[in-house]
């Protein structure tokens, strides 16, 4: 028996699948979309107003708060909690806490050197692989030529003896 929950789950997964399928096929930068937008005032207005919303969101996000806001908010909230919590050592710590950047932000300054080093290693690896493969093919070619020379000059038997395959 199919329940409502099952149907909703299936519907949700189909929606997710459709979204993925469509978003991978329709690109906003596609020529036919850009051509349409350049000739359609309604779409232009819509995109402009969406751009305005995105701009406003970016402005809100870029507005920094003072560094001690977390500390003050914690202190104000802890003040209203019960005594046993207020007197906790962790509560004291929270009252003086400052916002710390996440691991990703902390590592952001090392991003370029890490990328450069990784690129250098990749190039070295590729070069090494290329050099070894070239040397190996060069050796094979040399062996073939010598074998051919011995085969024509001294006979196939001797050539096979000297250069066994």
């Amino acid at each position: 028996m199919i329940t409502m929950k099952d149907t909703n789950k299936k519907c949700g997964s189909i929606r997710g699948w459709l979204y993925k399928a469509i978003s991978s096929r329709i690109n906003f930068e596609a020529d036919w979309i850009q051509n349409h937008i350049s000739n359609c005032p309604k779409c232009q207005r819509r995109i402009a107003s969406m751009g305005k919303v995105n701009l406003a969101l970016s402005l809100i996000k870029s507005q920094p708060h003072s560094l001690d806001l977390l500390m003050r908010a914690n202190a104000q909230a802890i003040k209203m909690l019960k005594h046993s919590l207020r007197d906790c050592p962790s509560a004291e710590k929270l009252k003086t806490i400052l916002p710390e950047p996440g691991l990703f932000e902390r590592c952001a300054k090392y991003r370029n050197p890490i990328t450069n080093t990784a690129a250098c290693f990749a190039i070295l690896f590729l070069m090494k692989a290329y050099v070894f493969s070239s040397m190996s093919s060069c050796r094979d070619q040399g062996q073939k030529t010598l074998k051919h020379y011995y085969a024509t000059q001294a006979g196939q038997d001797i050539a096979d003896e000297i250069f066994p395959t």
Partner: protein, 188 residues
């Protein structure tokens, strides 16, 4: 016999109180764990430091008194939803107060083209419009755009799928765009 029963009850009460005290430490650990994200979200919704502190206090007070001091099943979800709702209520109150006080002067100022591009004006307009959004759309915008949580987390907090969260966000942005455009046209 009665004495023994009374002492047993007392011991039980103390043990229960101690247990509750100990379990209430999760309020502080929740504060430590989610505090920075929560403050950022509240700051972005409210844009006023004192209001942020008030909403933050209100959120943790609610958390501490949730069902007689019990720990909610999903603390993060509870905190973020509660904080978002508190902040929106405060924002709505502030909008009404401001409207009553300076309606005429704001209307006149906003009509100027300089204000249309003014960052503060844009931010305030967006905040007002976010407060007007239907609850399900507003929750997604506040959690995804203002608290910068991933769609997956937003879905988990709101009890919806990731795809639904994306759809709600898209609808919310469309609605906000229409309202912001309409407001601009009305004022011009």
């Amino acid at each position: 016999m009665l004495d023994k029963a009374l002492s047993c009850e007392l011991v039980w009460d103390i043990a229960l109180a101690e247990c509750r005290d100990r379990t209430q430490r999760w309020v502080l650990s929740a504060m430590q764990r989610h505090g920075p994200e929560l403050v950022t979200m509240l700051w972005r919704i409210l844009g006023n430091e004192q209001d942020v502190c008030d909403a933050y206090q209100d959120t943790f007070l609610r958390l501490a008194h949730y069902q007689g001091g019990q720990k909610p099943e999903h603390v993060k979800a509870y905190i973020f939803r509660s904080a978002g709702n508190t902040a929106i209520s405060m924002l709505r109150r502030r909008i009404i107060e401001r409207k009553n006080l300076v309606e005429v002067s704001v209307g006149r100022d906003a009509a100027s083209p300089v204000n249309q591009l003014d960052s503060k004006y844009l931010q305030e307009t967006l905040r007002c419009n976010i407060a007007r959004l239907p609850e399900h759309l507003r929750a997604v915008v506040t959690l995804h755009d203002l608290a910068e949580l991933a769609y997956e987390q937003v879905g988990r907090i709101l009890g919806i799928s990731e795809a639904t969260a994306r759809v709600y966000r898209c609808k919310a942005i469309q609605l906000l765009a229409v309202w912001m455009n309409k407001e601009k046209e009305e004022r011009l």
